[in-house]
């Protein structure tokens, strides 16, 4: 029995999608502007796309962003998985509950407050140890890992809860040492959660602006920061080209993620 979706609801959904995609469409269109305006379309040209690749600062920022996102992903995933497993096994309920609540803070706190609080800490520590340039890659990394960790934990935790502890015990029972048993049977089962957490960290880090804005330094600019400084200046269509490019990259990434997820779900459903 198929659910019939009414025409009105279809129309409504289309309208919302138009709303959501209009700015992206505008951006894409203007990235092919032959003039240098982001307001008036003069004609078609790919020159801004070429220009974009010559913008060394942009390319450098892109490189930094990806590097930061990758390192953030690795660090927050490793820390997050360890924390999830550790907290999951924790018997002290109060401690566990407290930690889970602390985990929620970066997600609930306004980003601007998170960003500021970390900047205050970094600068304070910087003056304490008398380092002139604390704000940079390290502080960005710390900040990014901090706001990604909750997402890793919140993705892995439920998988652990779903996980039948007997399976781990079965491995031990069959002669596996505890750590090996964890790697051999627990890891594969919570892998989906880990991968989702991993990808989320990557994309969140890739896209973060507000927190980075307060914790970055001149030596390490990320793309969102660079874009922000561009929008503070005269914006030329090459920025739109860059954004369109990023959009495409993320599109591909998301499709990939989605296929992986669909597969995993299929597998789960088969159980």
């Amino acid at each position: 029995m198929k659910n019939k979706v009414s025409f009105a609801s279809r129309l409504y959904m289309v309208l919302i999608f138009v709303f959501l995609y209009a700015p992206i469409a505008v951006m894409t269109v203007f990235s092919f502007n032959s003039g240098s305006s982001t307001y008036i379309m003069d004609g078609f040209s790919t020159s801004w796309w070429v220009e974009m690749f010559h913008d060394t600062a942009a390319m450098n920022a892109l490189k930094n962003t990806v590097l930061l996102a990758l390192v953030t992903m690795v660090v927050s995933t490793v820390l997050g998985v360890m924390a999830s497993v550790g907290l999951f096994m924790q018997k002290n309920k109060l401690y566990k509950k407290t930690m889970m609540n602390v985990t929620n803070i970066p997600m609930m706190n306004p980003e601007i407050v998170t960003g500021i609080s970390m900047m205050l800490l970094f600068v304070f520590v910087g003056t304490l140890v008398n380092v002139k340039e604390v704000l940079g890659f390290t502080t960005l990394l710390i900040a990014h890992v901090t706001f990604c960790l909750p997402y890793v934990i919140l993705n892995v935790m439920p998988k652990l809860r779903q996980f039948d502890m007997n399976v781990y015990e079965a491995a031990v029972d069959l002669g596996c040492k505890p750590f090996k048993a964890f790697m051999k049977v627990v890891m594969p089962e919570i892998m989906n959660g880990i991968i989702t957490g991993c990808i989320m960290s990557f994309t969140l880090s890739l896209d973060d602006f507000i927190i980075s804005y307060f914790t970055n330094g001149p030596s390490f600019q990320t793309l969102p920061i660079y874009i922000f400084s561009l929008t503070k200046k005269r914006v030329k269509p090459d920025m739109f080209a860059l954004s369109t490019l990023m959009f495409l990259v993320i599109l591909v990434l998301l499709i990939f993620m989605n296929i992986a997820q669909a597969r995993a779900e299929k597998k789960e459903a088969a159980k």
């Binding site: 240098s36 305006s37 982001t38 307001y39 008036i40 220009e51 010559h54 060394t56 600062a57 900047m119 970094f122 600068v123 910087g126 003056t127 002139k132 340039e133 604390v134 704000l135 502080t139 330094g217 001149p218 030596s219 600019q221 400084s229 929008t231 503070k232 200046k233 005269r234 914006v235 030329k236």
Partner: protein, 396 residues
């Protein structure tokens, strides 16, 4: 790519031993020739010649730069504050003296750009550009060339005015209209100016912008803008409908200068960069790209330069003008608070009205919430009683 430099120059920069070092440059936005439209990519050229890596970042106002610098946690090697900010930084002991032996290109400097009042001993700064603030207008929307800042208070241009989004420059306009000195230390003067600005906010709802002015003004949507003259020329290139005026009340004349802050970690690199910026080729490239009057004699005297004799950049006769000076701390804070009040509308005539409106709306919302919560509890009580079935069990 073109080869801009002589072997001698190349050898000089190579010999500095800057290879592998980094130079953090903190400059105004749109204030360097960045390689766009076939121009020289100055930063890239410097990197090529010296082998140093430049982290080039931008600020949008002196205050913005000062905040970042004094906040700590960051290290910059070259900054480009304007006159009054140079003075402040010197006062607050945030700059280090320059070693001119590392800046041989001082020889190219215009005499009128040396020993300026903010750095009378020429110890801390190397002037980069000079210029004026200017009133821009869109010929399509404004019939007559304005001659006074007064037009920025004209209600028929409501929503069509772009105003400085930085306190000193914004105040300057009001101060000129009021006939005050830009550097007055009389608090009442500042209050008056602030009131005038608040009145402007009430009347024309100006959009406060800095470098965003480029896109907005070029788009042709706005009638007036206040900005720096070099940037006007740049905008004018993209939108020929734009015109400019030096209002009769007078304008601010400014000098932007290279300095090295205390937090530097590469003083030699910084000096090399400052020196490089004064290479005639570089200074020319900059002037050709950003259209500001260079402090470099070689450029000013270069008849080939497209700006040579440009009457906006080199107005003749020079407009009535005044240069900013640093203000004492208490005035600065006073000014800052006034500026916040202006922007958030606290000072406007409308402000009480607006405030009242906010309170009323908040009151309504709070009322709705209270009523909702109360209803929730009342209903919960009622439900609770309704669901007590004890009495019914006893029956039959």
């Amino acid at each position: 790519y073109e080869d801009y430099f002589s072997d001698e120059q190349k050898a000089y920069y190579k010999s500095l031993g800057l290879q592998g070092t980094t130079v953090n440059v903190y400059n105004w936005g749109e204030y360097i020739s960045d390689g766009g439209e076939g121009s020289m990519d100055v930063v890239r050229e410097f990197e090529k010649l010296t082998g140093a890596k430049v982290n080039y970042t931008n600020f949008e106002s002196n205050e913005n730069m000062y905040s970042k610098l004094s906040g700590g946690g960051v290290s910059y090697d070259v900054i480009t504050p304007s006159d009054y900010m140079v003075e402040r930084l010197i006062d607050e002991d945030m700059l280090i003296p320059l070693d001119y032996s590392n800046i041989p290109n001082m020889k190219y400097m215009r005499e009128d750009c040396l020993n300026l009042p903010f750095d009378p001993e020429q110890k801390y700064s190397v002037c980069f550009n000079t210029g004026y603030t200017v009133l821009m207008y869109n010929k399509k929307l404004v019939k007559e060339k304005p001659d006074s800042w007064k037009v920025l208070w004209d209600e028929q241009y409501k929503g069509k005015v772009l105003m400085f989004n930085n306190s000193r420059d914004a105040f300057a306009i009001a101060q000129k209209l009021l006939g005050q000195s830009l550097n007055t230390q009389n608090e009442q003067d500042w209050v008056d100016a602030a009131k005038l600005l608040a009145e402007q906010k009430d009347k024309v709802n100006p959009v406060y912008v800095m470098d965003e002015v480029f896109n907005l003004m070029e788009s042709g949507e706005y009638a007036f803008a206040t900005y720096y003259v070099g940037d006007y020329v740049l905008m004018n290139e993209n939108n020929p409908d734009l015109g400019y005026a030096y209002p009769k009340e007078g304008v601010n004349a400014f000098y932007d200068a290279f300095c090295i802050p205390k937090c530097t970690q590469n003083k030699k690199g910084a000096e090399a960069f400052i020196n490089f910026m004064q290479e005639p080729e570089v200074a020319l490239a900059n002037e050709e790209y950003i259209f500001y009057a260079s402090a470099n004699k070689a450029v000013q005297e270069n008849e080939e330069c497209s700006l040579y004799g440009n009457d906006a950049v080199y107005p003749d006769p020079a407009p009535k003008s005044e240069v900013f000076e640093n203000l004492p701390q208490n005035i600065l804070e006073f000014e800052n608070n006034l500026w916040s009040s202006v922007k958030s509308g606290n000072l406007s005539v409308n402000s009480k009205k607006t405030e009242r409106k906010i309170y009323i709306e908040s009151g309504i919302v709070a009322g709705v919430v209270v009523i909702a919560v109360a209803t929730y509890f009342v209903r919960k009580r009622k439900k609770d009683k309704e669901q007590d079935l004890g009495d019914l069990y006893e029956q039959n």
